[in-house]
Structures are given as C-alpha cells and as structure tokens.
C-alpha cells in the first residue's frame, strides 16, 4: 500500500471511475421514473425522494406498492426491508468512516450505495489505497446520474422503451460479476462464497423468501463461516 494521495484527487477518481456503474443504475432510474408517473408523482417528489432515500431498488418496490394499492405503511416496510443489506454494507467498510467528524460520517454513510461500495473494494483489491473521498466522489456521481435518470423517466414516461427488451436490465448483474472477480483473493474465499450461493439458492428456489432476505442470509452465512474458521 502506498501513502494515500490527496483527497481532491481521490474524490475526482471516484467521481470518474464509477461512471459505467452509474449508467447501469441510470437505466433503473428511467424505469423508476416510469413507475413514479403511474403513481402520479411529479418531478419535485421524484427529486426529493431520490436525494433523501437514494436507494434505487427500495424506491422502486415502495412506489410499486403504492401503485398496486398497498398503502403507505406497507410501502415503507417493503422498502426498508430491502435496505437492511445497507447495514451490512456500511458496517463492512467501518475503516472508511473511522475517526472522521460526525458530518463526514453522515455524508459518507448516506452516499454509500451497492455500486460505489463495491467499486471502492475493487480498487483496493487492485492494491490502490482509496478510502473515504473516493467513496464520496463516486457516491456523488451516482446521486447526480440517479436524479437525472429518474427525473427524465417521470418527465418522458411515454417515450421510454422497456429495459428488458434491450437487455439493459442485466447491466447490474454483469457489473457485480466483474466486481466479484476482482474481490477474489485466494482459495480461502472459495468455501464461504459457495456457502453464500447455496444458502441463497435454498431460500430462493422453493420461494421461501424474497430476494433481499435471501441475499442477507447468504452473505451473513458465508461471512460467518469464514470468520469462525481458524486462521481464516
């Protein structure tokens, strides 16, 4: 590891390097905008929701609950349940927030998403000493693209094609396959990773639980196995 470079450069690197992932999220943003139009949301509501919630999948599921007539409480619970994984995500990069002023912890935690979290870990796996400002720079780019895409989606709702028809709904999966590859360090990862996969498969294939719970259970099961193992 090198000595960490200056904060501005790290911020700019994060801001730039997250662009492919941000475009992937932007495609979901357009889809969210379409849904928001069905819920009769306006641009202001979409912008405020994107800025304050800033968690795409949970926004989609919450607004989908409203559209299907589920009511506000069900919408909030469904969205929050989907976001429980963010607790594990912020906990797993505790060193990033450590020793920072409270406002920086608040800013960094709020700007942490699946994408910039994974990108930062991937950069570290390549041996680069990136941290807080890289995460925040990438998070800010994610926020800007997310706002542009969701507001464009609600504004031009009638003119936007279905992401599935273009195959772009697969962008997220493909991106995370690439990131998993970059996080692979040694054969010690093998058994925990297989455990995570098997737990997810056992929960999701018979339809016991929905995807977000399966992900949490699979991630925790693999990591716990790795943690309890000697010399792991």
């Amino acid at each position: 590891m090198f000595k960490s470079g200056n904060n501005t450069q790290e911020f700019i690197n994060g801001f730039k390097e997250v662009v492919p992932l941000a475009i992937g999220a932007g495609i979901y943003g357009l889809a969210f905008g379409l849904l928001a139009a069905q819920a009769h949301m306006d641009e202001l509501q979409v912008g405020i929701m994107g800025t304050t919630v800033f968690a795409g999948a949970s926004q989609i599921i919450a607004v989908e609950r409203i559209v299907s007539g589920g009511g506000a409480l069900v919408a909030i619970i469904a969205g929050a349940a989907l976001n429980l994984r963010l607790l594990l995500i912020t906990a797993s990069i505790r060193d990033v927030y450590a020793g920072r002023p409270f406002w920086q912890v608040v800013l960094g935690a709020h700007l942490t998403t699946d994408e910039n979290w994974a990108l930062m870990l991937s950069a570290r796996a390549e041996g680069r000493s990136v941290g807080y400002w890289y995460l925040v720079g990438a998070g800010l780019m994610m926020l800007l693209v997310w706002l542009m895409a969701t507001i464009a989606g609600v504004t031009f709702a009638t003119a936007i094609p279905d992401p599935r028809a273009l195959g772009t709904d697969f962008a997220f999966t493909a991106a995370f396959i690439a990131i998993a590859r970059s996080l692979w360090t040694c054969h010690w990862d093998f058994i925990p990773w297989v455990t995570s996969f098997v737990v997810v498969a056992l929960l999701i294939l018979p339809g016991f639980v929905d995807g977000s719970w399966a992900m949490i259970a699979g991630g925790v099961a693999g990591a716990t196995l790795a943690g309890l193992r000697r010399n792991g």
């Binding site: 509501q45 968690a55 797993s92 977000s212 699979g218």
Partner: protein, 99 residues
C-alpha cells in the same frame, strides 16, 4: 397524494437510520478475532449473494449470460467489457434463442 410524501419521509428516515446504524455498529465491533474476520469476509460474500439472487430469479437465459459474463470477467478483469458482453449476450439469448 399525501401517501407519496409520507412514503418519501418514512423511507428516507428508515434508510438513513439503517446506513448510520451500520457505520456505528462497525465502529463498535472488535478490531480482531472472529468478528473482525466476519466483517472482512462480508463484502465478497454479500456480492456473491447479490449476484446469486439476480441470476436465480431469472431463467436459463440469465444463467447462460451470467456464465458468459463470468468468463469475460475472469479472462479480461474489465468491468466495462463484462457489462457490454453480458448485456449483448442476454439480448441475443432473449431475441434469438427460445428457452
């Protein structure tokens, strides 16, 4: 109409609390031993779980495209190449191959 503002407020508060709780909890857990090893292994396992959920929620088209994307990722180590070839593969499978 009021429902929308209520959901925005409720979900924003819940999501912010979850993110902060993780940052606070992480800081309070021990720096060594089993807990530290669990937190260290968590990112990789979570990403594998995330990919597993999205592939297993799909069908054979998604599984094949996922295998192709994994092969590209292993050989190229490139995020962009994996995304472009993965999307191309799923588009091709959905349009020209019937499962």
């Amino acid at each position: 109409m009021d429902d929308i503002w209520l959901v925005i407020l409720g979900l924003a508060a819940a999501t912010f609390s979850i993110r902060m709780a993780g940052a606070m909890l992480g800081a309070r857990l021990p720096q060594s031993g089993a807990w530290a090893r669990i937190l260290q292994s968590l990112p990789g396992c979570l990403i594998v779980a995330l990919v597993s959920v999205s592939l297993l929620s799909g069908g054979p088209n998604e599984w094949i495209a996922g295998a192709i994307a994994a092969a590209v990722a292993i050989l190229s180590r490139s995020l962009l190449a994996t995304m472009v070839i993965g999307i191309t593969a799923i588009w091709f499978l959905r349009h020209f191959v019937v499962f």
